[in-house]
Symmetry: C2
């Protein structure tokens, strides 16, 4: 059993209206020191795979095919046991 | 300048229909070994604050007030320089 922690973020060149909305919200609440907010996705994928290399390959493929949109998003992930 | 990496996840007892949808999508693509998917949020908050302890306090407060819903979500964050 492995668990993959996948982080999907917008590429730096892509505008992030959701991040801007959060930034404005924080400013309205009095957090004046916030200079930027970027919003991404965080996924935990549990895999019934024993071999770590197989798990790595599968998660890489999942990211490319479904979890991230490679045109506008970057992804990275880490694998933990159990 | 500090940057906070904030991870917001649903509490384990809360149903995650978005995670189930992703799991079904992965299965449709042939990933038969996926046992569970949980979807959360990942935020990068840039702060114009020099003192690390002040930054930690501010981000903690942001999480409680806006970034996470403490009734159904857990959050954790880490602070990096620059």
């Amino acid at each position: 059993m492995h668990k993959a922690r996948v982080y999907v973020t917008l590429k730096p060149s892509i505008l992030d209206p959701q991040g801007n909305a959060v930034k404005n919200g924080l400013e309205s609440l009095g957090f004046a020191d916030v200079t930027d907010v970027r919003v991404g996705k965080y996924l935990e994928v549990s895999l019934d795979v024993v071999d770590k290399n197989v798990a790595l390959e599968q998660v890489e493929e999942m990211c490319k095919k479904l979890l991230a949109n490679p045109v506008i998003e970057d992804y990275r992930f880490e694998l933990v046991e159990g």
